[in-house]
Subunit: 235 residues, 2 copies
């Protein structure tokens, strides 16, 4: 089964620490944010990471929670046999780094150049200890992440077609763009996310295309043509 993703021994230029922003100067309106996101904006710092650079490693202390501002992030784990499993893809607005109490069980990398809001976990839990609304929201947030991961489990017991169809629907759901998806990640990323090989992912996409369920104008761009067919597949 060796997928053997060439381990990214790439540029690991140091991320740039951006000046801490005060309230009111955020690029997004903080008023529409949840208490936690609001707090993250107040207490956090924005960091910039170039494409393929590491945001945190599997063994690091995991004191931080992250919120994607721009770009795309992947979390992943390298298994003992060299395979790589991707834990998730995170798009702007998504929060990652929740998955562990003490240490990260995953590493995180920027798939594209990315800006990420970073805040100390302890700052959030302290806040939660003073404000039940924050506590409840923090709890709900991890609960949602938990459910997201459980949905992945449902994905992994399905066939290759179902997995790919579900992945496309999920990405379409999360992208604003309607039926056209601009994939920030490579086929290898998708394969390692779905537990398949790149060949199977590629073949499945072509088969979906020949079913007229999708269109693949370029490898990174996919248009959903027949959602009901995809929905039927993804069960």
């Amino acid at each position: 089964m060796l997928t053997q993703t060439a381990v990214h021994s790439e540029v690991s230029r140091r991320p740039t620490l951006m000046p801490r922003r005060g309230p009111g100067s955020t690029p997004e309106a903080t008023s529409s944010l949840s208490p936690i996101e609001h707090a993250m904006h107040l207490m956090g710092a924005t960091m910039s990471y170039p494409r393929n650079s590491e945001i945190f490693g599997e063994d690091e202390a995991a004191d931080y929670i992250y919120r994607v501002v721009t770009g795309t992030v992947r979390t992943y784990k390298i298994l003992s046999d060299g395979r790589r499993q991707i834990g998730g893809f995170y798009l702007p607005g998504d929060i990652f780094g929740l998955e562990c109490a003490d240490e990260h069980s995953l590493s995180a990398e920027a798939i594209t150049d990315a800006r990420v809001l970073v805040v100390k976990k302890s700052a959030l839990t302290t806040l939660a200890g003073h404000d039940a609304a924050v506590a409840q929201h923090l709890f709900a947030l991890t609960g949602r992440e938990l459910r997201r991961v459980q949905d992945r489990i449902l994905l992994l017991i399905k066939s290759a077609q179902e997995r790919v169809a579900s992945f496309l629907l999920e990405m379409a759901e999360r992208s604003p763009s309607g039926n056209a998806i601009e994939l920030p990640m490579s086929r290898q990323d998708i394969a390692d996310y779905l537990g398949l090989t790149i060949e199977t992912v590629s073949r499945t996409l072509t088969s979906l295309e020949s079913c007229a369920a999708i269109e693949v104008p370029t490898s990174r761009r996919i248009v959903l043509r027949n959602r009901s067919a995809l929905n039927r597949l993804h069960g």
Copy 2:
């Protein structure tokens, strides 16, 4: 792939509500428990569920968190095509019901006759809002569950042998009994947990037995004979 677990349309006798216990009358020493477990003992009620009865349904309000006192519990989800995916097995001391914010995404059933401590989620989050230690613990608890689920994902991308070996090691880890495991669940439960068929689970067990890695005196009893071989498999 239709595993078609005969849906448990069994006895669904009403669970028995046990009298609420006051502090100090618990069967376990509460002193060694975490703040949350302590709170659960103070605020919760113990319920009894007969074998194969439902503890909560997928659609129910999910206002509660549960802690197994005796017996074994499974959480599961029935997919649209009839397949069943088991979310997890919970042994005495384990906490379940964390997985969702608003509604359960899973159902829960007692595998054996079980007693379960039940406490309102809102009571815990309220408590967390007053006590940072509780907030932090609650956060850590869901983080741990999150990691458990992520480990399941790593399991599901592996081969049948690896999955079964990992399952056995996990169960041995969680049972007090050392190398001998008394399985409370059926082959179908194991299959639906590992994303395999009962035939494959059965075949894999026999193959592991013929490798002298395990011994299967009775179908519900498994003895680990060669842990390093199992560890090698589970990667």
